[in-house]
Amino acid sequence: MERVGIVGAGTMGRGIAYVAITHGAQVTLYDVAPGALESAAAQIEAWLREAMGKGRLDEAEAQRARERLRLSTALEDFAQAEVIIEAAPEDLALKQEIFRQLDRACPPDAILASNTSSLSITALGAVTRRPERVGGMHFFNPAPVMRLVEIVRGLATSEETLRALSDLARRWGKTPVLVKDTPGFIVNRVARPFYLEALRLVGESVADPSTVDRLVRALGFRMGPFELMDLIGLDVNLAVSESLYRAFFEEPRFRPHPLQRQMVQAGRLGRKTGRGWYEYP
């Protein structure tokens, strides 16, 4: 049974905590914002009940899972942790400060992992005295449902650390893939053309968004690129496009499209604002 510390009890942190406690790990969930831990605990309770309702957990298992969760507002509670997964907001300076603190608060042989989607694992490891024991553990949203975890190898990350994180992901019922620390890792990078080519087609008046979506669905994709942008949020999608474009020093393949920016300027962010490429009355 592993002892795991999770930093940040937001969307991802609480999802990862749920996965961990339902697969036997002892979890300390840490956050600094008032109310964040309570809200996370309530969400985790709701997931446990849902799993019981569907017969995936019995009462005894759910009870044991509950007992494995500990809420914390002090990093000293990580003094016994073997693995830490950081899921704080996506801000390099903030995450580097957290990694400095973790380096001091955690046992020297503990592995420090980050759930970052776009920041450099190498840059996080570099502020610690244990860069070989710093790696990426990139879960997908919603973490309880999505099977994929990208295990990210920073420039200094050791084989042992990668093996330990991959094994952990497997014990938690996930499928790990191994990727070097490069912008967007695998998924956020390789998926870029799915959106950008679709935007270029519409930008060049070759086809309209609904035609492109129909064609793409007919090929077997569950959603077309425009529907998917509406679901993700056009602002989020633009931010990822811009971040990759910058990170690759303006490689033309990653150039964002003016239509993306215009939609964001118009406040048509997708489902969450009631309108994006489509309307959601």
């Binding site: 191994l178 695998i186 998924v187 998926a191 080519e197 087609l201 064609l215 994709f221 033309p252």
Partner: protein, 257 residues
Amino acid sequence: MGTQPLKERILIVGAPAFAEDLGGMFLEQGYPTAVLVWDGEPPFALSPDLEAEARSAALALEILPFPIESKQALIALLDERLPPEAPLLSLCLTVSATQVARWTRRPGRVVGFAALPPLTRETPIELAIPLTGDPTALKPAKAYLERIGLRIEVIRDAVGMALPRILCALINEAAFAVMEGIASPEDIDTAMKLGMNYPRGPLEWGDLLGLDLVVAILDALEAEHQNGAYRASPLLRQMVRAGRLGRKTGRGFYVWG
């Protein structure tokens, strides 16, 4: 019960698997169909039947994705022999329909289409008329393809059409990732299937399409846009040189049994 009226004669000329699959669909619907296979490698050695088949065809489909010189020769030949009213559908993956129309004396009867192998009844088909074309030519072309059960979307003519462009850009990005050693082909495909719900991994898809076709489409797009966005991964070029074209040669990113 009377006898079925004779259906119109269909002529299909071009790349082996593609031409045969499409021919099979027309035959199943009772169309007298001639399938003449040519992979585009010179010399141009089509069956002597081409002459006769072309003269009696109500619809011709030319499905040679590349090389471009062979495609042009084939189009010229069909243009000379087809009845003036017969629509000429040309597979437009690496050229625009407008370019194909320019090779003929019948720009009004030319319709471009795009579909990606392997061809099944589920494969979506894109149709586009040349800039110089006649929208009325679209109607019979569309009707024939719908009668054999294919799904049609009409778009505006452009090199690479819609799906080939999206798919080849995805495959190219995945190939860059392999070249840079960021992850194994298996892990890249697994990540895209599990992380994005893609029905297939992009590298597996490249192997199915044929990496020579993928490079040909990317090169055509790069020649058209000249913006670097379609620059093919050098790894893809190396694989094509090595004959690792994917499933059809037994090896691409994967080994095929």
